[in-house]
């Protein structure tokens, strides 16, 4: 079972397909859960403590907007943990944790420079493309240990 980071990191379709194939999808909701449902909430409401910006500083400089560093505090550790990656480019409707374009550029760059097996795709627009999309993901995941 490999740990596969998916981009967009909140994608339902990608995380579901990864889990179907018996691998572990690294997704943002898991990182959010660790903070939001911790037994000792030190910094209500979302438990973002002074440690989170420090984690973000590993990936982005101090003069980078705080939203980028905040997001990287969640997504950065996932990238470090990843053993493979599936990147779906430019869906055109990223929101929430995945709604910052500067963060998304940095996430894609870090995934590519990490050197793990990578699958680049686009979201399908018709049935034929959807079959190719699913088939490529299946083949890629079957090739992972």
């Amino acid at each position: 079972m490999a740990k596969v980071i998916v981009y967009p990191p909140t994608s339902m379709i990608l995380s579901d397909l990864v889990e179907r194939m018996g691998h572990k999808a690294l997704v943002v909701p898991e990182a959010v859960r660790k903070l939001a449902t911790a037994n000792d909430i030190q910094s209500p409401p979302l438990n973002v403590t002074p440690e989170e910006p420090k984690k973000g500083l590993h990936y982005a400089a101090v003069d980078v907007p705080s939203g980028v560093r905040g997001r990287m505090a969640l997504i950065g550790p996932l990238i470090e943990e990843a053993e493979a990656a599936i990147v779906v480019e430019d869906p055109g409707w990223l929101t929430g944790c995945a709604g910052c374009n500067r963060t998304n550029e940095l996430v894609r760059l870090l995934i590519r420079t990490k050197g793990v097996p990578l699958l680049d795709l686009s979201y399908p627009t018709d049935d034929a493309e959807a079959r190719v999309f699913v088939q490529k993901i299946k083949t890629f995941l079957e090739g992972l240990k």
């Binding site: 379709i13 995380s15 939001a36 449902t37 018709d126």
Partner: protein
């Protein structure tokens, strides 16, 4: 550790969110369930929830999709009832991807060889456009 998962149905699936909720109510599992317009949220201990969602998926393997959720159901930090209305931030992503689910479901259910997809036409490059304009003027 307690976890929360979304169980989301494709709009073409024969399984409705209410069918899933009724199955969970009638099951032996000790979990919290919240029914939504697109599926259900299941909250409970990790191994229990994982076993339950695997059973639910078997109702329609290609039409039911599972997604992790960070906050438990009804959490006042995300629940729209406590925030003055409006969808929670993560809903827009689910809404957008839900439109693709019927296609993905059909692709998962399909058997046999995958048909070749013709390459999409790329937009005209500026150099090519310049050449065409020059050819027309001369």
């Amino acid at each position: 550790m307690r976890i929360t998962k979304y169980v989301i149905t494709s709009s073409e699936s024969d399984i409705l969110p209410s069918d899933i909720a009724m199955k969970i109510y009638g099951s032996k599992y000790d979990v919290n369930v919240k029914e939504t317009c697109f599926g259900v949220m299941v909250d409970g201990e990790e191994d229990v929830v994982n076993a339950l969602v695997a059973e639910i998926r078997s109702l329609d393997p290609s039409g039911i999709f599972i997604k992790d959720r960070g906050f438990p159901p009804g959490d006042p930090r995300r629940c729209r009832g406590r925030r003055g209305g409006g969808a929670r931030p993560g809903f827009y992503m689910i809404e957008s991807e839900s439109k693709m689910l019927p296609m993905i479901s059909r692709a998962l259910a399909a058997e046999g060889e995958v048909p070749a997809v013709p390459e999409k036409k790329k937009p005209l490059t500026p150099n090519k456009l310049e050449d065409i304009i020059k050819e027309g003027l001369i």
